[in-house]
């Protein structure tokens, strides 16, 4: 997937970190905070905040499994709580993030986009995280398959 050693290290750090965030979120801790649960999708750029966690997860990195389709899955132990896979397709220059969890079916994309033209009195607080993710990513799709919520996002590089 990634040949360069440094790049490999960086990618491992990224997917491990995001994996942890995904795991924590999928435990349902943030479920009552409608914003936070999906907010971390737009935090892919905040890698530096999580670098220390990446180090802590070194053991998980070592057991990360790469599958044939180019997606990396975290350790089997975490399989039942939540996963995040990152795939990099050099040919189409596309970075793909796929997040899965085994929680109740929930399609975040069904939430209507906030009306960004309303006045301040009429605008409701919240709902912007998903909206920003949709705007920032080149595609965001959701599927529920075999008991898993699967959210896939792609970003053209």
């Amino acid at each position: 997937m990634v040949k360069n050693r440094t790049a490999q290290l960086i990618f491992r750090t990224i997917y491990c970190t995001l994996g942890l965030v995904g795991c924590v979120a999928s435990l349902g801790i943030f479920d009552n905070v409608d914003l936070i649960r999906w907010d971390f999708y737009v935090h892919f750029t905040n890698i530096s905040n999580f670098l220390c966690l990446g180090v802590m997860l070194a053991a998980l990195i070592a057991t990360a499994k790469r599958r044939e389709d180019g997606f990396v899955r975290t350790a089997p132990l975490l399989k039942f709580i939540g996963m995040l896979g990152i795939g990099l397709d050099y040919e189409s220059r596309t970075l793909t993030f796929r997040l899965t969890d085994r929680g109740v079916p929930f399609d975040p994309l069904q939430r209507p986009d906030p009306d960004v033209t309303l006045s301040v009195e009429d605008r409701e607080i919240g709902g912007l995280g998903i909206f920003i993710a949709k705007k920032t990513m080149d595609s965001v799709t959701y599927a529920f398959e075999q008991g898993e919520n699967i959210l896939t996002m792609t970003k053209n590089m």
Partner: protein
């Protein structure tokens, strides 16, 4: 993120430095809702703010409602401005 409060008579300026995201937004929300709950003239100086997430936007909108529109943002950087424009906040907040 650091939050610095400066008071000049009735007017309060809050300087934000760092990243306003899910981790730091609650602190700002608490500051605005508790420490300076009575103010009607609030200025947020965003010169040192490098990033804002939707959690940060939530706090800004809450502050705007709380101050009944008497809040203004100054020194908004490029990255933050892009997010404000994307979400329509650039139109509803007072930006100088």
């Amino acid at each position: 993120m650091t939050i610095e409060i400066k008071r000049h008579a009735e007017e309060i300026t809050i300087e934000l430095v760092g990243r306003l995201d899910t981790a730091t937004a609650p602190a700002l929300d608490m500051t605005i809702s508790e420490d300076i709950a009575d103010t009607r003239r609030l200025t947020l100086d965003l010169k040192g703010l490098e990033y804002i997430s939707s959690a940060g936007l939530r706090v800004l909108l809450g502050a705007q409602k709380r101050t009944k529109g008497a809040m203004k943002l100054i020194h908004v950087g490029e990255a933050v401005m892009a997010v404000l424009e994307m979400t329509g906040f650039a139109d509803i907040l007072t930006i100088e």
